[in-house]
Symmetry: C2
Subunit: 356 residues, 2 copies
């Protein structure tokens, strides 16, 4: 597959978004989040999402320049109305305020309603870690998981993410959907034209399927059976109920052409200022001891070394910055057509450049 320079894709993204009317401040946030996802190997949440976002901006289902309302209820509680903006932008601005609040009071909670897809939850955890804060991030999403005992999708695939700084450039970043697999991976498989493994999903009649299209109409299975379904419910309550956002099947799916109205996605963030609990260097010392001890556990024969969540992500991003980001034929074609349509330069791929 052809590879593209990360910084050229960032420029393409932000240029395209400003061209259709987004402020340069906001388009820089979206571009940064999307390309970071590609760099970290989470292509399902990367630049392949740009075409649907653009479409939804143009048909007014997502607000290009939202008037976000920040209602600080206490030194520790922030309630945000995203005015139907893209989740990346709404959440970026919300967590930045939450960081300041946490630095003041030790912990802050941010409930966001009237938002949209926010990209990867890990993005916000990394922002927190950059400021030596810990973060727990949750979001709901259009129905993906059946309640335990049910046969059709009700809860979103509702990720839970944690970020903990380590005092070096590889924070512990845990980001997992409460489904067996992120719904984005099924959307990506459909886009790529590949089948999905057995055990990932059931179709709309409750039967197992390996067809990503059928799976998207049905339900992804929860991680760990009933436990995963229970976690999905907890996330739905924090992000959908406590924020005043939509929940369950009331969260609209931007991929569905027939749906109307705001998606009204909800997010929930908890930001923790480590220094209010203990000396920051003691924390770094301890978390690195934990990591060191964990790596000394005897590994299974097939495993080279035990890694912690965040390590693979970091090394993939380092590699990606050197070797470029791979785009599949479908994604490349969609993006270059968008570039042509809006007269925004779509970069040449690295191999082609090298061949010149």
């Amino acid at each position: 597959m052809p590879r593209y320079k990360a910084e050229e894709l960032v420029t393409f993204c932000s240029d395209l978004l400003t061209k259709i009317g987004m402020s340069s401040e906001n388009s820089a946030i979206v571009a940064d989040s999307l390309i970071k996802a590609n760099l970290e190997g989470v292509d399902s949440h990367g630049i392949s999402r740009l075409p649907i976002y653009i479409k939804r901006f143009l048909d007014k289902r997502i607000n290009l320049e939202p008037q976000i309302d920040f209602d600080q209820k206490s030194p520790s509680v922030l309630v945000v109305d995203g005015d139907n903006g893209l989740g990346h932008v709404v959440s970026y601005k919300a967590v930045k305020k939450g960081f300041d609040m946490a630095k003041n009071s030790g912990i802050s909670a941010i409930a966001v309603k009237n938002s949209n897809h926010f990209g990867t939850a890990s993005y916000f955890c990394q922002l927190a870690c950059n400021e030596n804060l810990a973060c727990i991030a949750f979001t709901n999403s259009p129905p993906g998981i059946a309640p335990w005992g049910g046969k059709s999708a009700f809860y979103g695939t509702n990720p839970i993410a944690f970020g903990f700084p380590t005092g070096n450039d590889v924070p512990v970043i845990i980001d997992l959907s409460t489904s067996i697999v992120a719904r984005g991976k099924i959307i990506f498989a459909e886009k790529q034209g590949t089948r999905i493994p057995e055990g990932w999903a059931i179709d709309e009649n409750g039967y197992p399927t390996t067809d990503p299209g059928e799976a998207l109409k049905g339900s992804v299975l929860p991680m760990g059976g009933a436990k995963g379904a229970a976690l999905a419910m907890a996330v739905e309550i924090l992000t959908g109920v406590l924020s005043g956002a939509a929940f369950g099947p009331n969260v609209k799916n931007i991929y569905n052409e027939k749906e109307e109205g705001n998606a009204n996605v909800g997010h929930f963030f908890i930001i923790i200022d480590i220094e209010k609990f203990m000396d920051l260097n003691s924390f770094f010392h301890s978390i690195n001891d934990l990591i060191k001890e964990m790596k000394l556990v005897p590994s299974r024969p097939e495993i080279e070394d035990i890694r912690y969540p965040g390590e693979r992500r970091k090394s993939a991003a380092d590699q990606g910055r050197i070797n470029g980001i791979e785009l599949s034929g479908n994604v490349e074609k969609e993006l270059s057509m968008l570039g042509e349509a809006y007269n925004v330069f779509f970069p040449s791929c690295i191999e082609k450049s090298a061949a010149l």
Copy 2:
């Protein structure tokens, strides 16, 4: 199996604990937590634990009457040193302070070090729900789960629990270990002399086992594969690192006769005052809508009705209060011997009483 009246077991527990020197205030807390676990069908965290607690009080590995230190770092942050007290007592007092803090500032975080096993995490979530607060509770525990790729236990089975009030007497209570199964269930199987299902655990050499004794020497498997192992790590960081408690294999196992020194278990609680986010009645309205809509999802043929986490627990407890609590022969024998040794009346079982 013989059944016992719940209130008589509560009296037995607290009488026994006061007899060996615990204050009546503290013994009432422990008895309440243990018997609630039995009532709710979580026998592994119920009165069967009393003999080991008593033993550890007597051999001074757990402090009967700890001088708990509460260090309030900010209106939202409480750091607690449990002085090696039993976790039930330390955590009860810590969360009660946390409830007041959350009511004041909207959210509170409580990090506890130098504690011990605290019973079920759901117990503290229910306490929060009784005051219309939401709660997220975490604890670490002696090594039970291998890190992903490793073959021996490192992380505790580290439960995550959520409590959300519903405005009625059945709150949403989610309480799950990040292992495929709670380690307590394996301890219970060993006590009962039964085998455990395949897929629950590996032995100390990394091979699958159905022998609970071998499993306790080896490692329980995480829920949902790598995701469960990552969640266990997140819990270990919040409860072990951020609190200043022990983490990983440094957490002592009170069942192990050879270990010495404090277990130094850590807990972490987040308490959320819903009213600081939205009107309480609106929250109740929405969460009940969520539940109602969830119950309308078409169910699988084998499922009678879709229930939410907390419902089974509540109906089991209601039944238990009427029909009594079943104790296995081993547990009954251990408890009645303890009663004899300390001259504390061990109640007659319900069937025997009825037969008189």
